[in-house]
Structure formats: structure tokens, C-alpha cells
């Protein structure tokens, strides 16, 4: 079998008593790139955060499995070590911890004690990816995300993705705040990850990103559910026609749904 499989079934998620996800079903296999699109406030980011184990979200029903293992039973760090990765929309700033120290700790967290990556090898790998993502090398010595611009934060997330090489990655609005040149660089990095072993769930508000990263499957989320799935052509239709036709097709009320977190 190629790569891992992330299987989301009937996922219901609440924040502070408000139900945001109302039964999401989605399966991502190694080698596949999926895009989840949808209007603001339909639960796209909630899906990403809930899978990773964000402390503000409560899962009330449903299941998430990675290669048959119950993800929801795992602590956040265990999920990561099992092969999940989330490029966050709003990564935290950690004062006093350099990006480079953090990256090394993250890499070593996946390795056995006594098998830590050597400093030389680490620096070589990090420098390589910094170059690919056209990131200034001094970012490695800056405190993690502290004082980073929006674009720098996004690139830093992709830097981590490329160094940690997870089985399944979720990219939460990685395109927001990036200008077109930066977007191309980031997309190039993500495309480089593409192989049989790697599955990716790309959450985006805009079709723009999908011009550079072609998804195998596109899903539309509305009102806390996946309401339509298709191929890359679905994303193009959404770009040109918006979401109204889907609402009409499905007979959905036009309501302003729950806020995103």
C-alpha cells in the first residue's frame, strides 16, 4: 500500500457549545492531494484544528483514524509522531526559542533517543530548504514566529512541513497573506513533497492556490458538512461562478454560519 490513510467519519465538533462540524466524511490516501473549499465560516479551519487536537474544540461524535489508529484518542504530540502535520493559519509566537532550536527539537521528537540528528546534518538540511523557499537564513536564529510578517510565518510553516516530512499534511489557508511570488515559491515546495507516500489536505478560500498545486479531488464545505466533491474542474467552476449555484442545487438556506476560529 502506498503511504498512509486518514479516514474521517461523521465528525461533529463543537466550540463553546456551538456545533460547527455536523458530520464530515473524508478519506485521504497517501499520494493524493485534496482541496477543501468553501465560503468563510463553514468549518474548514475547524476541521483542520479538530484533526490536530486544538484545545478549544470538542469532538462530540464521529471518528478520525490514521491507518486504523484512533487519532482522537491520541495527545497532540502523538498525532504528530504518528505522521500528521498541520500548517497553521495562525501559528503561535514563542519568544526566546529560536526557529532552528525548535526545528531540531521537532525532528528529534520523531527519532529514537540516541538517534538524534547530528548538528551538521540538520544545518545542511535546513539550509537546503531555506534556499528552496527563498527564506533569509537569519530566520533560523530569530525567535519562533516572533515579529515575523504574515508571509514569513506561512513560509516557516512550509519549512517545517518539508523538514518533518509527515505522512499526511493539512495546510490551513496557507495562501492567505502571500503575494503571488511568495505563493509560487510555497507551492513549489509543496509540490516537491508530492509522492506516493505523501497525502495532503489543502484548505483554501480561493482557487488561486490551486492554479499552482493541482488537487486530485476538490471538496466543498458548507454549514459544517462536505456538500459536494469532484475533480479539479470543480474548483475552477467555483472560481468563476461562486458558491450560489451549489446552494441552489442543494436547496441550502443562505445563512451566515458559525464563526471560524
Amino acid at each position: 500500500m502506498a503511504g498512509s490513510t486518514l479516514e474521517i467519519k461523521n465528525l461533529h465538533v463543537e466550540i463553546e457549545g456551538n456545533e460547527i462540524l455536523k458530520g464530515v466524511d473524508l478519506t485521504i490516501n497517501g499520494g493524493e492531494f485534496h482541496a477543501v473549499m468553501g465560503p468563510n465560516g463553514t468549518g474548514k479551519s475547524t476541521l483542520a484544528s479538530a484533526i490536530m487536537g486544538h484545545p478549544s474544540f470538542e469532538i462530540t461524535e464521529g471518528s478520525v483514524h490514521l491507518d486504523g489508529q484512533d487519532v482522537l484518542e491520541m495527545e497532540v504530540d502523538e498525532r504528530a509522531r504518528a505522521g500528521l502535520f498541520l500548517a497553521m493559519q495562525y501559528p503561535s509566537e514563542i519568544s526566546g526559542v529560536t526557529t532552528s532550536d525548535f526545528l531540531r527539537s521537532s525532528i528529534n521528537a520523531r527519532r529514537e533517543e540516541g538517534d538524534e540528528i547530528s548538528l551538521m546534518k540538520f544545518i545542511k538540511e535546513m539550509d537546503g530548504v531555506l534556499d528552496e523557499l527563498e527564506i533569509d537564513k537569519n530566520m533560523a536564529q530569530r525567535y519562533l514566529n516572533e515579529g515575523f510578517s504574515g508571509g514569513e510565518k506561512k513560509r516557516n510553516e512550509i519549512l517545517q512541513l518539508m523538514l518533518l516530512k509527515p505522512e499526511i499534511a493539512i495546510l490551513d489557508e496557507i495562501d492567505s497573506g502571500l503575494d503571488i511570488d511568495a505563493l509560487k515559491v510555497v507551492a513549489k515546495g509543496i509540490n516537491k513533497m508530492r509522492d506516493e507516500q505523501f497525502g495532503c489536505l489543502i484548505i483554501t478560500h480561493y482557487q488561486r492556490l490551486l492554479n499552482y498545486i493541482t488537487p486530485d479531488k476538490v471538496h466543498v464545505m458548507m454549514q459544517g458538512r462536505v456538500v459536494k466533491s469532484g475533480g479539479p474542474e470543480l474548483a475552477q467552476r467555483l472560481e468563476s461562478e461562486g458558491y450560489d449555484w451549489i446552494k441552489q442545487e442543494l436547496g441550502l438556506e443562505d445563512e451566515n454560519v458559525e464563526q471560524e476560529v
Binding site: M52, G53, H54, P55, E75, V76, D77, R79, A80, R81, F85, L86, M88, P91, S92, I94, S95, G96, V97, D101, F102, S105, S106, A109, R110, Y143, Q160, L164
Partner: protein, 435 residues
């Protein structure tokens, strides 16, 4: 209310002690007068910390002479940690209990006229200089009972004096309280005369977990016109030592004093770090970190007082509290009348790791002049769960994530320490205190 603490040492004892150390008359008289004053002066009253029951009287003033060390390899491992093994520290003083165990100063600095020696040698060999500065411009004998007791019983310390020299290499002193009952009445006097600069780093260290004693330390740091002093300190007295430590700076025209203090004692501690910016354009950055654990109670004051025009003062205090420890963090920015154009900024942050610990940050601004800038930020909080989530989402365990956040929180001061080995040693102490 003050508890009547009978002074454990009398006039005859002090006379004899002064004589044994071949001190000049003025020093003996200063001691005797201080002893008399100690009798009538009140104890200091640190804000919100009751020290009336602390042990300031049970100690042994005259410890056995600490043996000399022929080579640094003979030092126990705990002390080795203070030393840079790769870049051999050429300018080093090790005080074992109350006597000098090791002293070295590079030829180069000696030739430049740098004075770097223990306080007793300084009193005999550089009497005029010591007399000029000793408890004159920074700390006064009669501020309260503990300063007077300090002056009466001073039994160790260091003296640094540079003139017209820019020192690149740091000067390092290790104060090693080897005897678990030996009291440290240390006096450190650091003077950078006009147009000179120096870096000084001191470590205090003891291992008296059971036996009780006292540390009563006064440090005076004088930066004359256009002088620069970078002062690093790591205090690491064990649980049995009750500490009063007063580090005071005085900066004159265009002078600068940078403090980086790791306040890592395990016993009850009152620590004051006050800097007077006397003349125009004087600058001070006072950065401190501390970790409270067990049942210890600590009171930290970081104060910068602006007298001169266009003076600049920045205070940063970061504290981590665990177990049932209690700490008060006073940050005081004071601009006196006449200090126009000055800027007093401060930031105090306390990270609580236990619900039974207590940490209070008291930001205080006292402004007696128009046309100044001043600001403060203070917070007391727990480790941010979103920071932990972010770190853990990369596979880092919760414990390791907390460790990273705490070390990061204390890094602004740790990173500032001018000797790599002292940085590393402070990180070790933090590691030990936090876990």
C-alpha cells in the same frame, strides 16, 4: 513590629577581626560605627514580604580559611561548570568561604593598570581608591539594619577598578560558600573611571541544604563619565541561606550600566537592584530572571532613578513560580525633578507553573518632571495552551514543550550574560529548578 535580634558579634570581636586583617583605622572605625548604628536601625521593610521571622542572626561569621587551589582541575565539578573549558578564563578570582583560593589577571590587563583583586588586598594596596568609593556614592551604611550589619561584618568581596581602558575580556569572580554555615558578608566594588569600559560576571554558590546561614551582600557599581559597565550575576545559594543582596549602580554623564542577573537562590531572598542615573544621557538596562520553588519567599526590586536630563532606563523582570513559592516583583521607574527628556520603561512578567505558588508584579512609576516618557507592562499568567499546542503539533512532548517555553521566557536575560559558560551554567540551574 521588629523582632529584637541581639547582635551575635560585639565591638571586641570586630576590633579583633579588623586587626587580624590589618585594616587601616578608617575601616575599623567604619565597622565599629556601623555596629553601633545596627543596634538602633530598623530592619528594611520590603513591600508585601514579611521578613521579620527570617533568619538574619544565626550564622558563623568567621569560617575556616578556604584552601588555595593550585590548579583549576582541583575544583569540584559544580564549580567547574562556571568556567569556560574552551576559552580559558584568564581573569578569574575564586573566593572560597572568605579567602582567596585562586586569582589570576592577564599580563596585558595588569600592564594596562587594571585592578582586579579581593577586597582585603584592595584595602591594603589601593587604600585611597577603596576609601574614595566604599559605601559613599551608592549604598550608605545607615540605610537600615542590614546595610549597617553588612558594613560592620564585611568579610569578603572583590574590587575592580579600570581607568582609560576598554576591556574586551570579561572579569569573572566565583564566590564559593563551601562551609555550610559560613556567612557571606561580601562587598563588591566595581568602578569604571572616565572613558573606560568593562564586563564583570559573578557567581554565588553554596550547597547548605540543611544548615542555616546568612548572606548579606552589598555591591556598588560606579560608572563615571562616559564609562560602560556590563554586569552579569548568577546567585545560586542553597535553601539554608537567607539572603539580602543589594546591587546598586551609579551612572554619571554619558555612562551606561547593563545588568543581567539570574536570581536563582533556593532560600528566602531580598534582592534589590537599584541604579541612579545621575547626569545627562546616562543609560541603564536592568534585566533579571528568577525561578521560585519549594516554599521559598522572595522579594525582588528593580529600580532605576533618573536624576539627569535625557537619561534612559529600561527594566525587565521575568519570573517563573512553581510549588508553593512566593515572590514579589517590584519594578520602579522614578524620574526626579530636573530629569527632563528622560525615559523610564519597565516590563515585569511572571509565569505561574503551580496553583499554589504566588507571584505579584508591582509596576510603579514615580514621576516628578514634565516632558518625560514612561511606560510599564506587567502580567502574571500561565503557560499559554496555544503555544503548547503549536509545539506539540510538531511531535514535541508536553513536558519538552513546557521546557522550551520556560527557557524561552527566561532567555532575554540568559542570552545577555557575557560569558558562555555562565550562560550554560545558568541554563543548567534553571533546568534543575524548573524540573
Amino acid at each position: 513590629m521588629t523582632v529584637e535580634t541581639k547582635l551575635p558579634y560585639d565591638q571586641d570581636y570586630i576590633n579583633q577581626f579588623s586587626q587580624d586583617n590589618n585594616e587601616p583605622d578608617w575601616m575599623r572605625d567604619l565597622r565599629l560605627q556601623a555596629l553601633e548604628q545596627a543596634d538602633s536601625l530598623e530592619m528594611p521593610q520590603p513591600d508585601k514580604t514579611n521578613i521579620t521571622k527570617w533568619n538574619f542572626s544565626n550564622f558563623k561569621h568567621d569560617a575556616a580559611k578556604g584552601e588555595k587551589i593550585a590548579s583549576l582541575d582541583q575544583l569540584p565539578e559544580d564549580i567547574q561548570d562556571f568556567l569556560d573549558q574552551e576559552n580559558k578564563q584568564e581573569n578569574l578570582l575564586i573566593q572560597r568561604n572568605h579567602t582567596v583560593a585562586y586569582a589570576s589577571l592577564s599580563k596585558d590587563l595588569e600592564e594596562k593598570g587594571v585592578i582586579f583583586t579581593d577586597i582585603f588586598t584592595a584595602i591594603s594596596e589601593h587604600e585611597d581608591l577603596v576609601k574614595r568609593y566604599y559605601m559613599k556614592d551608592a549604598v550608605s551604611v545607615d540605610e537600615h539594619r542590614l546595610t549597617a550589619l553588612h558594613a560592620a561584618l564585611m568579610n569578603g568581596g572583590a574590587f575592580v577598578y579600570v581607568q582609560n581602558v576598554q576591556l574586551e575580556e570579561p572579569l569573572q569572580v566565583i564566590f564559593w560558600q563551601e562551609d555550610p554555615e559560613a556567612a557571606m558578608f561580601n562587598h563588591v566594588l566595581v568602578v569604571a573611571d572616565d572613558n573606560s569600559s568593562l564586563t564583570y560576571v559573578e557567581n554565588y554558590f553554596s550547597q547548605n541544604h540543611e544548615q542555616e546561614t546568612v548572606a548579606n551582600i552589598v555591591t556598588e557599581v560606579i560608572a563615571n563619565n562616559n564609562a560602560q559597565i556590563s554586569f552579569g550575576g548568577v546567585d545560586n545559594f542553597a535553601e539554608g541561606t537567607t539572603t539580602y543582596i543589594n546591587r546598586r549602580g551609579v551612572a554619571y554623564r554619558d555612562a551606561r550600566i547593563e545588568w543581567a542577573l539570574g536570581q536563582m537562590n533556593d532560600g528566602n531572598t531580598v534582592s534589590e537592584n537599584v541604579t541612579h542615573l545621575i547626569d545627562e544621557n546616562a543609560v541603564s538596562n536592568a534585566k533579571t530572571v528568577s525561578v521560585g520553588r519549594g516554599k521559598q519567599s522572595q522579594n525582588f526590586t528593580s529600580q532605576i532613578t533618573h536624576f539627569g536630563k535625557f537619561t534612559e532606563g529600561h527594566i525587565l523582570q521575568h519570573g517563573v513560580m512553581r510549588d508553593k513559592a512566593r515572590s514579589i516583583f517590584n519594578g520602579i521607574g522614578k524620574i526626579e525633578h530636573g530629569g527632563s527628556g528622560s525615559n523610564a520603561e519597565q516590563e515585569s512578567r511572571v509565569l505561574m507553573l503551580s496553583k499554589d505558588a504566588r507571584g505579584d508584579a508591582n509596576p510603579i512609576l514615580l514621576i516628578d518632571e514634565d516632558d518625560v516618557e514612561a511606560g510599564h507592562a506587567a502580567s502574571v499568567g500561565r503557560v499559554d495552551p496555544l503555544q503548547l499546542y503549536y509545539l506539540m503539533s510538531r511531535g514535541i512532548t508536553q513536558q519538552e514543550a513546557e521546557r522550551l517555553v520556560i527557557h524561552g521566557f527566561l532567555e532575554p536575560v540568559v542570552g545577555q550574560l557575557p560569558i558562555e559558560s555562565v550562560k550554560a551554567q545558568l541554563r543548567q540551574v534553571i533546568e534543575r529548578k524548573v524540573y
